[in-house]
Amino acid sequence: MATMVTSTKTTRKTSPGGGPKIPGRNGNGSKRHDGFPNPDLHANRYRIGMWVGLASVAMMFTSLSSAYIVRSASSNDWIALPMPRVLLASTALILSSSATLEVARRKLKAALSGPYSQWLFVTVVLGIAFLGLQIVAWRQLARQGIYVASNPHSSFFYLLTGAHAVHLIGGLLGLTFLWLRSRRQEIAQALMAKRRAATDAVTIYWHFMDALWIYLFLLLFLWR
């Protein structure tokens, strides 16, 4: 029994290349010091922080969705909005922006900084175009005389799309920051790990915004 335990310990890898990290013998507490300080682990905080932050974003949209579901069932003043067709186009845009960002992230992983920068730029453009189409959708509804206070469905439509847009602008700032940084060619190895972590974090956020939009779209126009 004792030998078995020992043998598992010796075969445990402490710094695997890529993929999820295998925890050290003592939880994270021992990982940082096996050998020299590992910049990749140090940079890991960006990924962890992003997941933790997204948990809170998810909770906020959960609270708004639960309000949506309760409010839609609680009275008879609910008038379903006509779906602005332009939202289908914006959905297509944000889906493709996720794809282009994923390409960019993989280019960075393959250490191709030129294509990385270009794909990032394409993503930023697609993101801005998505925001533009959202504004078009709002204006179309306003032209039909449907405002925030018109009825509960319109209130929730403007609120949810608006809250999503605000969060998306945060993502756009992150992408723009990455793109500006990516134009600096020569960087040190330690900074490279940091850049990869930052790119991962922004990518996670952007994919989340994408999924959140699909969810909101379905909630707004298929739930009730």
Binding site: N26, G27, N28, G29, S30, R32, H33, G35, F36, P37, L41, H42, N44, R45, I48, G49, V52, G53, A55, S56, V57, M59, M60, F61, T62, S63, L64, S66, A67, V70, R71, S74, S75, N76, D77, W78, V148, A149, P152, S155, L159, A163
Partner: protein
């Protein structure tokens, strides 16, 4: 140095020690400075909250008495020196809001957590120092905005003074010190705007905005705490070697991360109801002060909203919030009890799981605040059973505290006294939770003084006792000097007896049927006999508030004149006592410590001292000692 790892991890502090005053003390990135900033914010906020409670007591126990000072300060809110009910209600609201958000949430978590979590896990700073600075300053802005709610209601000395300073006038205000919705801000009262009464206009808008800002600040802080704890622990600091304080701060951060967004969502909906005239929380057909909804420009049309929806959103946050207030106190108490009982924490693992169980269950019991909202009795039973089940992990903690003390030779320092006081208050206040948690018993007791007594004892005073204990315990590490023990002991005994004298009679008042939030009870025959009790409570409150200024004096006097403390004045075991006093900018002077032992290795057989520090090498700690749950 044998205690540190062989130079494997040189100082990797990502920001150099600042030199200028502004970068060092105002916009600092150092978690220690930010922690002290949070504590100072709480110390300022608690004075405001305390003065408000004092004013409320004056009005309750000496009804009809003319207070010339009130007449001068608040000519509209207290005409002739007698408060009107709206003024009293605005005091209730602001006292609750300021105490819950800016004292009970900031000091335990933002203050002590910020200062000691990174040191106790052996990190050089928080994971995101800039975010940490932002979370404090966002919280600070939230505090300023809630104070502005006092100012904009104007028509009193404070409003006039600020008005003169800013070159405007708030004479159009209602003369209250803020909105009158209570800290829970129930809709539709809070959602209607100015037409709903004094303080419901600009004051209420600022109240909602302040809370939304506070939510954002807390979220940034929680994100930082969680990431720091997960990613920044030093070598050997496995999860089960962390001090219980770290577990408590971590759980608190998780609660904050998941509950504040819900309040933020609710706050946005409330603000839209108020500003954009939506109807999330406002039902149709409301008739207020002679105006029907939709027939006047200052009372636009509202239809179909659900006031209960606000209650759900609020209490989904509100219940975890009470654990956000008290869990850090539980952590500090466990830590301090073990240190001064010179024994390992009894059942360390059970304590960790109990903290998590309390945090988890805290998310499923919000309905017990809403038993009288007309909810289905089946839901009420579910909420009731879940609520009572929190008694189990709470009892685990209490018995383990007693187990830690059992048979020990206690060192009765002021910190220890306050930690013992915490246990006492937690039990005394928690026991009524089991009564109020049963829907059938809650129906008659809801909104009476027994609720006031319950939550003040368990969430208010117990948490504050945890923070007092933490202050007396960690002050020497933070400022390099010990606090005065004589003043400290006077402070403890008067406060301890005082809070019981304040809140025990309130249970009786509640059983008699005295309702919360009423400004006076002179008109109710069935409450005539309680007046002497009301008077007793007020006298106790005045004495207890008075003695808190001894504490303030002790803090600021000891900072400069206190007895010099060494690096480890309490002979404690955890990492903060392993570094110099006060800790250097990167906490460990460039070389992070390596941890070899659990956090509470006191009275280890065969060890050279009666305690083994977490970094000590060449000491064999038998596996039965400490936190493996064995008897010893």
């Amino acid at each position: 140095m044998a205690e540190t790892h062989e130079g494997a991890h040189e100082g990797v502090h990502r920001h150099p020690a600042p030199t200028g005053f502004i970068r060092k003390y105002i916009f600092s990135l150092d978690h220690k400075v930010i922690g002290i900033q949070y504590i100072m914010l709480a110390l300022a906020a608690v004075i405001v909250g305390m003065i408000m409670s004092l004013l409320m007591r004056l009005n309750l126990s000496w009804p009809g008495t003319h207070w010339p000072v009130l007449e001068t300060l608040f000519p509209t809110g207290a005409p002739g020196g007698i408060m009107n009910p709206e003024f009293y209600l605005s005091l209730v609201t602001m006292h609750g809001t300021i105490m819950v958000f800016f004292v009970l949430t900031t000091a335990p978590q933002g203050g002590f957590g910020n200062y000691f979590l990174p040191i106790q896990i052996g990190a050089e700073d928080m994971a995101f120092p800039v975010l940490n600075m932002m979370s404090f300053w966002v919280t600070f802005v939230g505090f300023i905005v809630i104070l502005l709610a006092i100012v904009v209601e104007g028509n009193h000395a404070i409003g006039e003074w600020f008005g003169a300073t800013l070159g405007t006038s708030f004479a159009g205000g209602s003369g209250t010190v803020g909105p009158i919705g209570g800290w829970t801000g129930y809709a539709p009262l809070s959602a209607l705007g100015k037409i709903a009464g004094p303080g419901q206009g600009a004051g209420m808008n600022l109240w909602v905005m302040s809370i939304a800002i506070f939510c954002i600040g807390s979220l940034l802080g929680a994100l930082n705490f969680i990431t720091t704890l997960l990613n920044m622990r030093t070598k050997g600091m496995s999860l089960m070697r962390m001090p219980l304080t770290c577990w408590a701060w971590f759980t608190t951060a998780v609660l904050a991360l998941l509950s504040f967004p819900v309040l933020l969502g609710g706050g946005i909906l409330l603000l839209l109801d108020r500003i954009a005239h939506t109807s999330f929380f406002i039902p149709g057909g409301l008739y207020l002060t002679g105006v029907l909804s939709g027939t006047s420009s200052n009372f636009p049309l509202h239809t179909g909203g659900s006031p209960i929806l606000w209650q759900h959103l609020f209490w989904f946050f509100g219940h975890p919030e009470v654990y956000i207030a008290i869990l850090p106190g539980m952590g500090a108490t466990s830590h301090i009890l073990a240190t001064f009982a010179r024994k390992p924490v009894f059942g360390y693992r059970a304590m960790v799981f109990a903290i998590f169980a309390i945090g988890l269950l805290g998310f499923f019991v919000w309905g017990h605040h809403m038993f009288i909202s007309g909810m289905s009795p089946y839901s009420a039973i579910a909420f009731s059973v879940l609520t009572l089940s929190i008694g189990v992990p709470s009892a685990v903690k209490t018995f383990n505290w007693i187990g830690t003390l059992w048979g020990s030779r206690i060192r009765f320092t002021t910190a220890m006294l306050f930690a013992l006081g915490f246990v006492s208050l937690f039990v005394a206040g928690g026991i009524t939770g089991l009564i109020l948690g049963q829907s059938s018993l809650d129906l008659p007791m809801h909104d009476t003084y027994i609720v006031t007594a319950h939550f003040h004892l368990v969430m208010g005073v117990a948490s504050i006792f945890g923070m007092f204990a933490a202050t007396y315990f960690w002050f020497p590490k933070m400022f390099g000097r010990l606090m005065n023990e004589t003043i400290g002991k006077i402070h403890f005994w008067v406060t301890f007896v005082g809070v019981y004298a304040i809140f025990m009679p309130m249970h009786v008042m509640g059983l008699v049927g005295m309702p919360r939030r009423y400004s006076q009870f002179t008109e109710y025959a069935f409450l005539a006999n309680t007046h002497s009790l009301v008077l007793f409570v007020s006298v106790a409150a005045i004495i207890t508030i008075g003695v808190q200024f001894l504490f303030y004096f002790n803090v600021f006097w000891s900072m400069f004149k206190g007895e010099k403390a060494g690096d480890n004045p309490w002979e404690a075991t955890t990492l903060e006592w392993n570094t110099t006093t006060p800790p250097p900018h990167d906490n460990f002077a460039g070389v992070l410590p390596t941890v070899h032992h659990g956090p509470y290795e006191f009275a280890v057989p065969g060890a050279p001292r009666d305690y083994v520090m977490q970094t000590d090498v060449d000491v064999e700690v038998p596996s039965g000692n400490g936190h493996n749950g064995h008897k010893h």
